[in-house]
């Protein structure tokens, strides 16, 4: 808790004080020393209260086995801490390099891709394994039995994605030997499938136990199961949402973009789409001047849409703003930006981006929100069958379910 608060303030200090160059370092003022003092004082307060209460903070847990859900939580926290350290280290390294070597270096995406992605993949493996581990102790036999089908499913998904032709678009045709980013994408999607199957098996096995005992249908049993322990099953739905987000992020390995000057009737091909410029014009409105192009979108020789990307110049603020046009589908997002006019011939310059699986990120976020809301719903009381004398039945109260 202390570290989270302190690091959040440290991040604000780094960007707002101008120590690290950032788009947020807009306010150059004397706030830096004030911020530094605030950080020092809060750190001192944390250390003081930690020293004062360290006896109460000491855990009294006993761990029975390394292969248990408790230890999986600990490894999970370790990986999150490692990722946190990576971000902190990567953020500070340009400054440290300047102090030590006298010159700044850049720490951007290639660094995080190489350092953080392997750790993040380990984290996903734990997300898949975690629900299969029992509290206190898990036998390897039980782990092997429960892990078999999710692993088989993940391998089938990986092989399927590798052998399909790239012309199918999206994440199909993932050849991991072509590029390391394809390898990471393939791993991410396979592990997301494994997480999904693990979660599905949790719902299925729990639902089957209730179904066998109560004689209800499987779906009703799974609903009842979820209602009995909303925190646990809401949490699984959040995990499923994370898996869906992961599939969306894996699509970034296939991002494409193209920039082209387009006169009337000119064509631009990007992925499975062909954009044809039908017209371009400009107009003046009370608040702004606008330039835009009208583009027909063709796929497989058939017109499927018409896009009107626009560029505006706001008179009062003297600011230019682009109004990109986005065509979203589960497979990919086509994102077209009107960049401006070529001053030599007056033709518009357009930039098209094809970003696969972006919709999956949004979908995953909605699933995460749904799972979180579900986890906040109070548990339904579990029906308890207790042989008690008939005369006492009228006073029997339902017992609330635990975690």
């Amino acid at each position: 808790m202390f570290a989270s608060f302190w690091l959040a303030i440290l991040g604000t200090f780094l960007t707002r004080s101008g120590i690290i160059s950032s788009v947020h370092a807009f306010a150059q003022s004397s706030i830096g020393p004030w911020f530094a003092w605030f950080l020092a004082i809060t750190f001192a307060v944390f250390v003081f209260f930690f020293a004062l209460n360290h006896k109460h903070l000491r855990s009294e847990h006993k761990l029975e086995a390394i292969v248990s859900r408790e230890s999986s939580f600990m490894f999970n926290n370790l990986l999150f801490c490692a990722l946190c350290f990576t971000v902190l280290w990567g953020t500070w390294f340009p400054k440290i390099s300047e102090w030590v070597q006298g010159n700044k270096v850049t720490v951007n995406a290639p660094f995080y891709n190489r350092v953080a992605i392997p750790v993040a993949l380990l984290l996903i493996i734990l997300t898949a394994i975690g629900p299969l581990l029992a509290w206190r102790k898990t036998s390897f036999e039980s782990l092997r039995r429960n892990f078999k089908w999710p692993t088989v499913g993940a391998v089938i998904a990986a092989v399927f994605l590798m052998i399909t032709p790239p012309s199918w678009g999206g994440a199909f045709g993932l050849r991991p030997w072509v590029d390391i980013s394809y390898f990471y994408s393939l791993m991410a999607i396979s592990l997301a499938v494994m997480v999904t199957l693990t979660i599905a098996s949790e719902f299925y096995r729990g639902g089957r136990v209730i179904s066998e005992k109560s004689g209800q249908g499987m779906f009703a049993s799974m609903v009842q199961l979820t209602h009995r322990n909303t925190r646990r099953y809401g949490g699984y739905i959040v995990h499923f949402g994370v898996a869906v987000v992961l599939i969306g992020l894996a699509g970034s390995a296939f991002n494409q973009d193209k920039e082209q000057e387009m006169a009337y009737g000119d064509k631009m091909a990007i992925g499975p789409y062909t954009l044809v410029c039908r017209s371009y014009t400009s107009d003046e409105f009370p608040n702004y001047e606008a330039e835009w192009a009208v583009l027909d979108v063709y796929k497989d020789g058939r017109q499927i849409d018409q896009l009107t990307p626009e560029r505006r110049f706001y008179k009062a603020s003297q600011q230019t703003s682009t109004m990109p046009y986005i065509r979203s589908s589960l497979k990919e997002d086509l994102y077209v930006v009107y960049e401006g006019l070529n001053p030599d011939n007056g033709h518009p310059i357009l930039k098209a981006h094809l970003n696969p699986l972006v919709m999956w990120i949004w979908l995953g976020v909605w699933i995460i929100i749904g799972g979180t809301i579900l986890a906040l719903v109070p548990n339904a009381p579990a029906p308890v069958v207790v042989p008690v004398p008939a005369r006492r039945l009228e006073h029997a109260a339902p017992v609330p379910a635990g975690d």
Partner: protein
């Protein structure tokens, strides 16, 4: 006498090792793949803070020129290190998108894994100390279940709940 490994298994392992080596050491060879790979290792210098080939800064004054320079260097057949050196000489060390793997820059790559290993060590220490803790005292009259009896109860719970 030492048992002789199964020839099929041995051949399969050799094939796997060869495939791994080819995968590990194969680099981008065609010019467009090299352009893409190198372009993702360089920064645009217009202060947008973006990777050169991902700079979507409308009307960027630098990225087009830098891309052309990169394309020319790749077309000439310059090696990766020569291309990077040329960019560093012209635009400074901040044009590289990640620290190099020489000198002090190496610490950038090593430290996160050192931290992870140190964290693993601390975790193993915690797990051991928690395992060695004495069991909490039970109220009078309750006898703790241990050994085969506990395993039997666990097995029964696994069968009944299928967990």
């Amino acid at each position: 006498m030492k048992p002789k490994p199964n020839p099929i298994v041995r051949r399969a392992l050799q094939c796997a090792a060869l495939a791994a080596a080819v995968f590990a050491f194969s680099g981008a060879s065609d010019p467009s793949a090299r352009f893409s790979e190198l372009g993702h290792q360089l920064m645009c210098i217009c202060s947008c803070g973006q990777i050169l080939l991902e700079c979507n800064h409308v009307g960027c004054p630098d990225s087009d020129m830098m891309r052309n320079e990169l394309m020319a260097a790749v077309g000439r057949g310059d090696s990766d290190s020569l291309v990077e050196q040329a960019f560093v000489q012209k635009y400074g060390p901040t044009v590289l998108a990640a620290p190099t793997t020489t000198g002090f820059d190496r610490t950038a790559w090593i430290m996160p894994f050192v931290a992870l290993l140190a964290g693993c060590g601390i975790l193993v220490y915690i797990v051991r100390s928690w395992r060695n803790r004495p069991a909490p005292a039970l109220a009078d009259g309750i006898t703790p279940v241990r050994g085969p009896e506990l395993d039997q109860f666990r097995e029964q719970a696994e069968k009944e709940t299928d967990v």
